[in-house]
Amino acid sequence: MRFTPLGDNALMLEVGDVIDEPTHRRVQEAWRALAAAPLPGVTELVPAYTTVTLFYDPLLAVQAGAPATDIADWLTVQVEERLKHPPKMEKVKIRTVEIPVCYGGEFGPDLALVAKQAKLSPEEVIKRHSKPEYLVYLVGFAPGFPYLGGLPKELETPRHARPRMTVPPGSVGIGGAQTGIYPLATPGGWNLIGRTPEKIFRPAENPPVLLRAGDRVKFKAITPAEFDQREAPP
């Protein structure tokens, strides 16, 4: 475990250096322990693949007892103490979220391209993409955007050299070894193989996202008719 300052108001806790499930579990454990009760001076926690970053306000830290000349070290000690004696936490129930996806056609204009470079039929790409249970390593890039791990090797497809100016929300794409879902209309360079009618970003709800770090995701192929039905307002 290593602590590195990220500027003068954030402290990065590194629990590993590779993207894998054991590291992910350590990140989740540390994050949950730190989030369970507020740490003095800490304003926000941001978990990623191998790190949990603590954002802090130096003034709040000093008001909580940190020596003004040694705020980061003081904070490090607080964090280490907390991790050594984590508060009682509820057992995490792993959620598996099913995401309906209408593959190909206008919803997935790059399905043929992905199939071609994988030397598979489009149907086979759909079958293999919707087979695994993916792990949400982290949520970032855009609100609710899940960084998913577990894409079958043969489906890996390089990003477009020229990103699209706008990708429709709900688009499911493959970028290199990653697969994910675009929550908002944003520019994007991933290969779009389908689209989900589910809202990934839900600003009126708490939490405002469908998927959270630690969730499992399973894609389920649906027809265009099912897509329209799901998307229609109630």
Binding site: P5, G7, V18, A48, T50, V139, G140, F141
Partner: protein, 329 residues
């Protein structure tokens, strides 16, 4: 009611940002110069986090249908109230029916305008700041348009007292002012203090030295997410991808082309480019005022020095707060 006659280039409602949602990929955003926003709010008797307007490059024309107190500061927008200049860095009385006109920023890029009470827009995820990409927060999730009407919450008792005193004394503005520059007036070319970043050692020693000694030029590639700088190419000691991790406003990322990007408050929550440095919190405001072609240099400081600067600025602000509370016009 505040009636938007002309919207300006990118006038948005901002507060101090959306905290606690980065874990969901929601950007913090908020006023690019949060300190200037706090000072502007302080001058009109608002809480630090009250919503105000951020102006960029071309300011708006605003008609007030009610008497109120305003304060503005930042870049010089040649602001006028009626036929007279609108004084900055102090509390100004706007009479019912008067119009404030902001022009083009003459130097620098941005300014902040606070209205007594704060702008009344709904809280979305704990903040009133505009999040344009997601189309939420602020005024209808977007920059202001001509014809928009904004409302303010009721002014504080203190603001009402100041306003009454100004009206009774037939004065436009208070004689007191906060120290010029407190509200983010752009400084002349100068040095920005910065700390080493977590991936500083990924770069060659020459690159590290170059970063902290060369003169950097602001480019046109700049927005609320960050400012790209041009200068010597910063070479890496080793190749390899960084595992994406958190970034913060002030973090200096260096993509493969070797030209640094200084991140601003509307940055993403995580990034995958090596973080060579991080600008000291007290100096980050400089980057909100840079125009293409402006020059900056970085000076390396330690974390302890950065904290010292930060705490000193907070002490200053706290003294201003105490001083203002004693005033009654």
């Amino acid at each position: 009611m505040i009636h938007v006659l002309k919207p300006g280039l990118l006038t948005t409602v901002q507060d101090l940002g959306r905290l606690g949602y980065q874990q969901y990929g929601v950007v913090v955003g908020g006023a690019l110069d949060g300190f200037a926003a706090r000072v502007a709010n302080l001058i009109v008797g608002n809480d630090d986090n009250a919503a105000l307007l951020e102006l960029a490059q071309t300011g708006p024309d605003l008609r007030f249908d009610r008497e109120t107190l305003v304060a503005w500061g930042g870049a010089d927008f040649g602001a006028m109230i009626g036929n007279e200049p609108l004084p900055c860095d102090r509390a100004v009385r706007v009479a019912a029916g008067e119009t404030i006109r902001f022009g083009l920023a003459k130097s620098g890029l941005r300014a902040w305008l606070a209205v007594a009470g704060g702008i009344d827009v709904p809280l979305v995820m704990g903040s009133r700041s505009t999040y344009r990409r997601a189309g939420l927060g602020g005024h209808e999730g977007r920059a202001l348009k001509a014809g928009d009407d904004l409302h303010a919450f009721a002014p504080s008792d203190w603001a009402t007292q100041i306003l009454t005193a100004l009206r009774t004394g037939q004065k436009r503005a208070t004689t007191w002012t906060v120290r010029p520059g407190t509200m983010g007036r752009p400084a002349a070319a100068g040095v920005v203090r910065a700390l080493r970043g977590p991936e500083c050692s990924w770069f060659t020693l020459e690159a590290q030295k170059a970063f902290f000694s060369a003169e950097w030029t602001a480019t046109k590639e700049a927005d609320r997410m960050g400012v790209r700088l041009a200068g010597p190419v910063l070479a890496r000691r080793q190749e390899g991808e960084m595992v994406s991790s958190a970034v913060n406003a002030g973090v200096v990322q260096v993509p493969a082309a070797g030209q640094p990007i200084v991140l601003l408050p509307s940055r993403q929550s995580v990034g995958g480019y090596p973080r060579l440095a991080a600008v000291a919190a007290v100096d980050l405001r400089r980057f909100t005022q840079l125009r293409p072609g402006d020059k900056v240099r970085f000076e390396e400081i330690t974390l302890a020095v950065a904290h010292d600067l930060y705490l000193a600025r907070e002490r200053d602000l706290s003294r201003v707060r105490t001083g203002l509370a004693r005033l009654t016009g």
